[in-house]
């Protein structure tokens, strides 16, 4: 079959389709469709209902999100508080870490702070014996002219500390050798046993880190553990002496009087007891 014949055959297919009432059915269908299109519009209530549903869904979703967010925040806060309470150890005065022997940052926070004009570099612990360093302490309360009681912080006296420093630092250097100490590099770990290796030393720049041992010796020291450790008679005696020295005479007299009163009361009580026994 060539193209012409095929074309002729295809053109021959262009015949009117069988008439089976298609036009009449189409007319009926079109009329009914037109009537359906002209029907009164009853979509408005449906639209309003849809709008209400939409807004209700939005409000509900927003409320659920807000409640969920606040619940999540509350849960996170509770967990944080629990973890923080578990991780925080109970700090007793006797167990308070001393800065000289190296401690963690938390120990630095919990240790009694003495105001000092110069910042104490935590990354340069002084290699001092615990009992050697004269420790700062509170002065006896002084009565201010206004009638209040005031405590003054007394910093440990710098003179005389050199003698109590460890022998390694006070050992006389051989002749010809200049004592020299390199500044401790950033990140160096303290040589004192027990010092926390986890505490990184901050860069020395800008912190006033002393470069030599002499400078370190001259720095004020924070209260040491020696002050808080019991069973050190020398220390107690020395403290007592210092207190006695600095106590005003009037107060001492008052104390003696009160002691006398107490003794007299005791004596009276004794006598009364003896009298009762005698009566019996």
């Amino acid at each position: 079959m060539n193209d012409l014949l095929l074309t002729g055959q295809l053109r021959a297919l262009r015949q009117p389709p069988p008439d089976n009432g298609f036009e009449a059915r189409l007319q009926l269908a079109l009329v009914s469709e037109a009537q359906a299109l002209r029907a009164p519009n009853v979509v408005v209530p449906f639209r309003s209902a849809r709008r209400l549903q939409r807004w209700g869904a939005r409000i509900g979703l927003g409320t659920a999100l807000a409640l969920g967010a606040s619940a999540a925040a509350a849960a996170a806060g509770g967990i944080w508080a629990f973890v923080a309470s578990q991780a925080e150890p109970v700090v007793s005065p006797s167990a308070a870490p001393v800065l000289e022997q190296g401690g963690t940052r938390r120990a630095q926070r919990t240790a009694p702070v003495v105001s000092s004009p110069e910042p104490t570099p935590p990354e340069q612990p002084v290699l001092a014996e615990p009992e050697a360093a004269p420790l700062p302490e509170l002065s006896p309360p002084t009565v201010t002219p206004a009638g209040g009681v005031e405590h003054k912080a007394i910093r440990a006296a710098a003179p005389g500390r050199a003698e109590r420093l460890p022998a390694r630092q006070t050992r006389p250097q051989p002749e010809g050798l200049v004592p020299f100490e390199l500044p401790r590099p950033a990140g160096a770990v303290s040589a004192v046993p027990g010092a926390s290796a986890a505490r990184p030393s901050t860069p020395a720049a800008g912190r006033g880190t002393p470069a030599s041992a002499a400078e370190r010796r001259a720095l004020p020291q924070l209260p040491a553990r020696a002050e808080q450790q019991p069973g050190r008679p020398e220390r107690a005696e020395r403290d007592k002496k210092e207190k006695d020295k600095k106590e005003p005479p009037g107060r001492e007299i008052a104390r003696e009087r009160s002691l006398d009163k107490a003794d007299r009361g005791l004596e009276r009580a004794k006598e009364a007891r003896e009298r009762n026994n005698n009566k019996k």
Partner: protein, 195 residues
């Protein structure tokens, strides 16, 4: 009448589309299997066209627009459950020439047309639609390209492929010298008309 039809007058719309009814029905028949399904699809397509007629802006011709709507309706119908059920009930017969009645047995033009329709309906749809619209309905390449939404060159190639397939199917049965049912001068007239 055009304005009335756009205003929603069904009778005006029917009068407007009356010249194109047969073409639309034939076109839909080429996409279906029998005239009953074709009429159902065509009616559905024309109702859709009536609904959408207010949006018809007249950029394309009315016939082109109706073919587009009819093609979409045919696709929708075949995708619907109704169309799938009809396909199950009346599976498409094999259009291979071997299964068709022999031309020796069918000596009338009606049988020849039916065989050709069956062969056309056996073509791939991408080739069938351009072939029907070009060869049977007489649309131009541009109009077919607008209906199909493809370039004109694609339409040309699809028509060429469809013709080649039809020629291959009928090569053994309809030799050039043995056109049955044709008068001796008919071939010469065809050659003269198609130049």
């Amino acid at each position: 009448m055009f304005q009335k039809a756009q205003a929603g007058d069904p009778l005006a719309f029917q009068e407007l589309i009356r010249p194109h009814l047969d073409s639309v029905r034939r076109f839909v028949f080429s996409l279906s299997k029998n005239w009953q399904d074709a009429d159902d699809i065509a009616q559905e397509a024309l109702i859709k066209a009536f609904r959408a007629f207010p949006t018809f802006d007249g950029r394309a011709s009315l016939s082109t627009w109706l073919y587009t709507v009819a093609r979409s309706a045919s696709i929708d119908w075949h995708r619907s459950r109704l169309g799938q059920a009809a396909q199950r009930e009346n599976p498409l017969e094999s259009t291979h020439p071997a299964s068709l009645p022999r031309p020796d047995d069918a000596c009338c033009q009606q049988q020849q047309s039916e065989r050709l329709w069956q062969a056309i309906q056996g073509l791939d749809e991408r080739q069938r639609v351009p072939l029907v619209l070009y060869e049977i309905e007489g649309l131009s390449y541009d109009e077919i390209a607008a209906i199909e939404g493809v370039p004109v060159g694609t339409i040309r190639s699809r028509i060429s492929r469809a013709r080649q397939e039809l020629r291959g199917q009928f090569a053994e049965e309809l030799p050039v010298s043995g056109v049955r049912g044709g008068e001796p001068g008919e071939l010469a007239e065809l050659e003269r008309s198609y130049g």
